[in-house]
Amino acid sequence: MKRGWLMRMLGFTYNEEGLGELAGLAAALGLEAYALAVGSRDSVADYSYSVFKRIYYAPRMSTDQAFAVISDLYDKIKPDMIVAPSLKDNTTVLAMLASNKKLAMFTEAFGIVLMEGKIRAKRRVMGGRAEAYYEASTPIALTIARGYYAPPASSEKGAGLEEVKPPASKLTILSVEVKEKGSVDLESASIVVGVGRGFRRKEDLRLAEQLASLLNGVVGASRPIVADYGWLSEDRWIGISGKKIKPKIYIAIGISGAPQHMAAVMDAETIVAINKDKNAPVFQYADYGVVADLYKFVPKLIEKLREKLGGR
């Protein structure tokens, strides 16, 4: 990329894979890139894309330690953009840095355009149902929305690595509990069957499972099923604070259609809704709606699909 000015990026990430997104952004926008990552030397080396001039790393850092380290790097490198993939603690560290250095910040940004001394970006607001257009002068902090910047085409590695020593932390980490991980990948599934409060018992979810497996799809859920009833694990939760999905077909069964849920399925190509309440908001968002009791209708739908698809 040829232009009369160059922007310098300081990336930050808690997960080493995030270096891929940062490298992708740096390559796409032609940035001079540096990064700070949390991870061991070996794990960071796996993502040491050569687009980075240097990658600083520390095996472990609490958010206040990372804040202290990145503040020092900011003063040393003098970047135009401080960028992190959208992760909760990445957001925390960048917001603390931005506050300390009196910088503006956008979270979950995409559609990033650079001009001399300026940046434009968009982000989703209003429960995901609107897009806000931002313009700010550099330097600026931003987290990038997931799925917009893939790792660079050239997977050449070997950027210089330098370990940093974080100062003492005010936070004491007592223990870490890994969350139970299900085997479903809602975000990349092409067929998703969503279940909501219309289901009366956990055992009844097997209707949705049957339908999903017939269509080679997966089952997701609205918030009450996961958070209030605990019938499915958290990785099944479709919502603004859960997973955002973009399947070819989304089939919402017994889901009323709260905005926080619907905003997360807006990118579905086709939405089918099955609900016994004809006034349920979900029908406003649906391409095809069926007003029926799911307990009577879904078994029939499965039967008809089975006939059609021939024992799939």
């Binding site: 149902r129 897009e131 077909i249 008809k304």
Partner: protein, 264 residues
């Protein structure tokens, strides 16, 4: 130890009442303000802490949607809701300079207000507002006040001048401890916010709300708002309700449609 608890709340545009103009831009003036969803969890967490440890709960808030003169009453109603849930008093900042809001300015204003009030033992906020979903204000506030920050807590408890929390992160839960004073943000999982009774709502009208301008709290640096426009995303849906003679017929029609859409 009687805790001085501050709870940060936002009067957010209600995304459930989304309105757009003919040109597709968000019509924010036609949208009502409401107490932001996760801020209700923050108020509930604050009130529960007071119930367990004693002390007081003070609401801190900045009006971020204008026009100021027209929004003031609505803003007060939102603050009264937090008071009805059990907070004791409120301090609010209302100033044209802070409208429309920006997380940087809002955090600066809240920090200046907190300092003017002599500081608190714990500051509790929701993880993000329901309208702008930036999720920056509590972390920014912690940096401005030079306090430890515990983000995304799904449980908190206080013992011996320290706070213990379970932080809900992508893929894992982290148990942490920090000394007070401290800033905390909470997720929707931390509790079920109480719905105030009629008596509590009425009592809230007698609780004090004190109003400040930017000058009152000695704030001089205010950031420029950075949003050029907000556009409502319009997705065209077919909105076809499938009808038929009986359920078999409807199921057959939907099966046809679904089969036709399946990836090969």
């Amino acid at each position: 130890m009687a805790l001085r608890i501050a709870v940060l709340v936002k009067a957010s545009l209600d995304p459930n009442m989304l309105r757009s103009k003919n040109n597709g831009l968000l019509d924010e003036h036609a949208m009502p303000l409401a107490l932001s969803e996760y801020d209700k969890n923050a108020v509930e967490a604050a009130v529960q802490l007071r119930e367990r440890n004693g002390g007081s709960v003070t609401v801190l808030s900045v009006l971020t949607w204008g026009p100021v003169a027209r929004r003031l009453r609505e803003f007060e109603q939102v603050i009264r809701e937090a008071l009805a849930m059990g907070a004791d008093d409120a301090h609010i900042i209302v100033d044209d300079a802070l409208v429309p809001g920006d997380p940087a300015s809002t955090a600066e204003a809240l920090a200046a207000l907190a300092k003017a009030l002599g500081g608190f033992d714990i500051y509790i906020a929701g993880e993000a507002s329901m309208d702008m979903i930036s999720g920056q204000v509590p972390a920014r506030l912690a940096a401005l006040l030079n306090l430890p920050y515990i983000g995304y807590a799904r449980s908190i408890e206080i013992a011996n001048g320290a706070i213990r929390a379970k932080r809900d992160l992508e893929g894992y839960i982290e148990h942490v401890e920090a000394p007070l004073p401290c800033v905390v943000s909470v997720t929707g999982e931390i509790n079920k916010p109480r719905i105030p009774t009629l008596i509590q709502v009425r009592r809230a009208f007698r609780k004090p709300i004190k109003r400040y301008s930017v000058a009152d709290i000695g704030l001089n640096k205010v950031y420029k708002p950075l949003i050029s426009e907000i556009r409502v995303i319009s997705v065209k849906r077919r909105n076809i309700v499938i009808e038929g003679d009986n359920m078999d017929d409807i199921a057959a029609k939907l099966a046809d449609i679904i089969a036709g859409l399946l990836p090969r």
